[in-house]
Amino acid sequence: MKKTSKFILEALLVVIAILFLSPIYIMIVNSFKTRSELYENALALPSSFSFEYYAQAMQKMNFLTAFGNSLFVTLISLLFIVVLASMTAWMLVRSNNRLSQIIFMVLVSTMLIPFQTLMMPLMQVMGWIGNTLHIPMLNTHGGLIFMNVGFHASMAVFLYHGFIKSVPIALEEAATLDGCTKFGVFWRIVFPMLKTITITVAILDVIMMWNDYLLPSLTLSDKGLRTIPLSTFYFFGEFTIVWNLAMAGLVLSIIPVVIFYFIAQKHIIKGVAEGAVK
């Protein structure tokens, strides 16, 4: 009985996985095809698996520079988000007063604003900071990181907020009695216990920032600053796409994230033996 149900689950998983992967299959096979091959049949295997389009895409995208830029922007933004959001969320949970509730609600509700309505005023504010305070926010990686932190902060706070409650408060109180400052309590006691959710935040934010096109497209102009999504613009005309290069570029750009995810997820999954459903 147990064995058969397990077998069924196992089979189910495989079937779902195949269905899930079909669009990715389309992406990969078409990164090897010419336009006319794709026109003949978008689903068929390519006539040859030559990596010429990958080489072309890499060269056009200036891949190494773009990769370095994306890596820098994503990681530094993530660092700030994790540090600042976890601290904020912890304070909001532990000092559960009116002010904290209001701050939390403001953070959460602004997640509902479509970016399209914020972008013009945002650009005005950033332009103003550049012109009057002489801190270059536009056309710099620093400015983009600053904006990334601002836009992704609320979701990170939201995620941390939900999980901090599962950290037993007794531990914190004991540490405080031992003479730890709040700072010490947070970094020595609380933060290590938030590992699972920190990795979750990291995964979700890394994908969003790594793939983001719109915000960088508004703020970065110089060629040397382009992130990976920006550098794929060559492949997107107004009415058509250079399919093979666009798909190849996409495959190239998601490989690092897949690797990152594969490593990161191992840290949030407990040993296989302790699964939840048996």
């Binding site: 013009m120 110089d222 107004e238």
Partner: protein, 419 residues
């Protein structure tokens, strides 16, 4: 107290971190004007922003060449085609607009009109071909990128243009093709290719298209009451009833079907030739849409370069120097014709080795056998937002007549916002 000390040290370190971030970005923006070697009067670095992804590579190569020849720098900003106006608007809002940028003549040019530097006295303006200049308040505000044209692009092996001269012969051709298992005519699902371009013909055939559009905006005339439009409605009916549903066709498949001989005629422009070649070398040419006796291709300027008047005086000077180089130097002229593959709108640039579609457009231009792009004067956003949905309905609802299509087009036109 140790706590207070720690508090202060943390504050300081976080401020420092942010400063470092801003500073490391700062390096990137400043490296423009610092290297003063080379020519005696080095011009400041300028930027160029435009929407044609197809020439992005060539523009970058051009920037390199420009630097080699003159020592001056021009940075080409990149944008995916449909994101261009958003980016341009955002950058202007931040006060970080490009020095030179591209806009479409007509409504789009009007929208950004407070940014144009008056080019009237610049030398590169003098060579613009007759009727190809773009003026606001009698001032030359832009220099045309080139000339483009659209019409019936046909496969010479399948179509004899002399036999398609009016609605009746067009219909007969569609029926004949259908009997042979060929799709006679194809539009495609993208708003401009579905209705924008083809609707241009009845507008352009009016005595004064711009005045007609103004009257239409005011509700003084109706498409449904105008002769050319009535015939246009019948054309659309014929296309719906006798050819493949354009909503099932993308620009990609339209070109593929045409290149492989499955479609005989497509409504397209000379810009599509590059894509056509991705499929197959084909014997193609372009003819006029034979609506109400029309024998002319729709030829006009797809875009102009303008100089941002908010740029510094030095940058404007540099921008003028660049345009001068592009339109008057041999290298520049060569780039326009052979690299960008544009049909020049200049009298001092000769065309040669044009592809067959551009050849047809160029010949029409030379002989004056053209109608204008009236659609650039349509109210902003109307093709995408209002006209396309109505046309989709027309192609999905077989019982809707051409006259009803016109009525609906009139209706949404009346409702659409006009600036």
């Amino acid at each position: 107290m140790t706590n207070v000390k720690r508090f202060i040290s943390i504050m300081i370190s976080s401020v420092m971190l942010l400063t470092i971030l801003a500073a490391c970005g700062g390096n990137n923006t400043n490296n423009g004007g610092s290297n003063g070697e080379g020519g005696s009067q080095k011009l400041p670095k300028i930027s160029l922003f435009q929407s044609k992804v197809e020439i992005a590579d060539q523009l970058e190569a051009m920037a390199k060449k420009y630097k080699e020849e003159t020592g001056n720098e021009i940075e080409v900003w990149g944008s995916a085609g449909d994101n261009y106006l958003t980016q341009l608007q955002a950058k202007l809002n931040a006060g970080e607009g490009p020095t030179i940028f591209g806009v479409q003549p007509g409504a789009e040019t009007n929208k950004f009109k407070s940014y144009y530097y008056d080019m009237s006295n610049e030398s590169y303006i003098k060579n613009i071909a007759p009727n190809m200049d773009v003026k606001i308040d009698d001032k030359n505000i832009g220099v045309p990128i080139g000339v483009e044209g659209f019409g019936f692009v046909y496969n010479k092996d399948l179509v004899d243009p002399a036999k398609i001269t009016d609605l009746a012969s067009f219909k007969a051709f569609l029926e004949e093709s259908k009997a042979k298992g060929i799709n006679g005519f194809s539009l495609s699902q993208e708003a401009y290719f579905l209705i924008g371009h083809i609707l241009n013909t009845p507008f352009a055939l009016q005595a004064d298209p711009v005045a007609f559009i103004e009257k239409l905006n005011k509700g003084e005339v109706k498409m449904a009451d105008t002769k050319e439009f009535q015939e246009f409605g019948q054309f659309m009916e014929a296309i719906r009833d006798l050819a493949k549903n354009p909503l099932e066709v993308t620009y990609d498949t339209q070109m593929g079907d045409f290149a492989t001989g499955k479609t005989a005629i497509v409504h397209q422009g000379n810009w599509s030739y590059g894509m056509l070649q991705d499929y197959k070398d084909i014997n193609a040419s372009m003819m006029a849409m034979p609506l109400a006796g029309n024998t002319k291709l729709a030829v006009d300027i797809p875009g102009i370069w303008v100089i941002n008047n908010k740029a510094s005086a030095d940058q404007i000077k540099a921008a003028n120097a660049f345009l001068e180089w592009l339109y008057n130097s041999e290298t520049g002229k060569n780039i326009i014709v052979n690299e960008f593959k544009f049909i020049p709108a200049m009298t001092n640039i000769e065309t040669k080795d044009l592809d067959p579609l551009s050849q047809a457009v160029s010949e029409a231009t030379v002989s004056g056998n053209t109608i204008p792009w009236a659609l650039t004067h349509f109210p902003q956003g109307i093709i995408q937002n209002d006209l396309a949905p109505v046309t989709q309905e027309f192609f999905l609802n077989k019982s809707m007549t051409g006259a009803q299509l016109l009525q609906k087009l009139d209706e949404v036109w009346a409702k659409a916002p006009k600036q």
